[in-house]
Symmetry: C2
Subunit: 306 residues, 2 copies
């Protein structure tokens, strides 16, 4: 129920962070790319092979430190269906290592079309009577601009299969305010969207009080983050913007409730590309990622203890 599986994994690892898996070729060490391109040529298949090798190395180095990974669909789609195959294989590999997988697709549509996305990313597809998983993540990010018709189709699958969603509420980017901060009868759009999340999750709350309908709230707006934590007491937060986008541990502290629960903080390039910053050889990219994930854990847990 709710996000119980994720919250338990966070408590077991004492680490409310999720590692983004955004394997753009430019982030991947040369030695991995060379091997893949020698095998498959300069093709989408070669790129997809490099993506998967890179991801597996990261997952092997991180699975005992972080509770979850978040593959960003865009960085797989840009490598065509071959990239989408690497996405499916990455998700399967992460789950085999006990990781909770949040597929970052920001999908949105209505009715039966949204049901098709729910099936694609969280459920199983009916193939001539056999139920076959397609991408099979544990949670999916969703854009709520279309209203309840875009979210309701996900709720049944969340309940039946113990999955979750994160609806975009207040995003971390500089221009997020163009629409999201504007006032609807004195209430900002992002807060109205957050209130809708509370409603959508109402009848699927877990034992920690959080529902299966979470919200994406950026670390780069710490005041709004802390305000929303209080305004949305049953909504679990996925918080992007730590690290590369400028948010620090202090900025994200307000995302958590008085028990230190209620949020998971994402780092993508910070962890993935740690080898490009420190005193590492590129073959040590996985070790560098692990060290950064440990540093980030200490950083956030330290801020939470204050």
């Amino acid at each position: 129920m709710g996000f119980d599986r994720l919250i338990k994994a966070i408590e077991e690892k004492q680490n409310p962070t999720v590692a983004g898996l955004d394997p753009k070729l430019q982030f991947i060490p040369e030695y991995i790319k060379q091997a893949s391109f020698e095998k498959y040529g300069n093709t989408l298949e070669g790129a997809a092979d490099a993506l998967l090798t890179f991801n597996k190395g990261l997952i092997d180095a991180l699975y005992d430190i972080v509770p979850a990974v978040k593959p960003q669909c865009a960085y797989y789609e840009m490598y065509g269906w071959q990239g989408m195959r690497a996405l499916a294989e990455t998700i399967a590999y992460a789950k085999s290592k006990g990781l909770f997988v949040m597929t970052d697709g920001k999908r949105n549509d209505i009715g039966t079309t949204m049901t098709a996305y729910a099936t694609a990313h969280l459920g199983e597809t009916d193939i001539n009577g056999e139920m076959v998983p397609a991408f099979d993540g544990d949670a999916l990010t969703v854009n709520g601009y279309l209203g309840s018709d875009g979210v309701n189709p996900l709720l049944d699958i969340c309940k039946a299969d113990d999955k979750g969603i994160f609806v975009l509420v207040k995003t971390s980017n500089p221009s997020s305010g163009e629409l999201q901060d504007r006032l609807l009868d004195g209430v900002p759009v992002y807060e109205a969207m957050g209130k809708m999340c509370e409603g959508w999750g109402e009848d699927n709350r877990g034992k920690f009080g959080y529902s299966a309908v979470g919200a994406v709230v950026g670390a780069t707006y710490p005041e709004q983050l802390a305000h929303l934590r209080k305004a949305l007491p049953h909504t679990f937060f996925l918080v992007p913007g730590y690290g590369a986008q400028g948010g620090g541990a202090k900025d994200v502290a307000g995302a958590f409730d008085e028990n230190g629960r209620g949020a998971i903080i994402n780092s993508s390039r910070g962890i993935m590309c740690a080898y490009q910053k420190g005193d590492y050889d590129e073959t040590e990219y996985a070790l560098a990622a692990r060290n950064e994930a440990i540093r980030m854990r200490e950083d956030i847990m330290g801020a939470l203890k204050k």
Copy 2:
């Protein structure tokens, strides 16, 4: 520039309609599915094979009648990466027949991640120095909730490669008003989003006055549609909701300007599943689709002449 390529194709075929390609297995004739499942078993690969066969039949029957097709990503993703391969093959086949392809993905993200989606669906991906197309549609539907950071990354590719986007403005679903109709300083959210489209498209307008940044506006809200046509004089409309969702030719007439330009009307199930309604054998699904596409053309062109 702008949507000139699409507008020319509409004028050549005297038909402002786009055929949706949403090949859910339940819409596909049994004889096609049987052949695919015999070949590949009850697998995602078998499903994808059936999708592609169905789509090719539709495209062959429609390409001299309609100017454009609109594959809905969700119905490919639900069949895994194999379904995404069928999407890529469908797009390539449609383009080989001279059709303008609008990929309906409602993608959204920010910065480099949105650039990755732009690359995936409209541009080309850099693979070790070689530029390789991934899905290679002519236009992409986009969700603007994240503001300019989510749209700007698309504008360069639209200009460089003569592609276009459609931003969700007023969607056709019953609950679209939950957010979209609410008032921001007296102006509904959908109109504010529409005004942003006018701005985003400002420096990429074609010879018919329409920019490469279009808007999705549902046929099911004819008053708002007619109002937006006047309020957004440079924004080309993609209009869903005709047929299965209840909109008729009269409802969509307001989407067009005084020259009969400015919009393209979508029909998905109405055309795809025409064989399930009329006096057809399932093997005649393509003929049924063609007849319905011709009927729809007459219906809309008739309403436009009034």
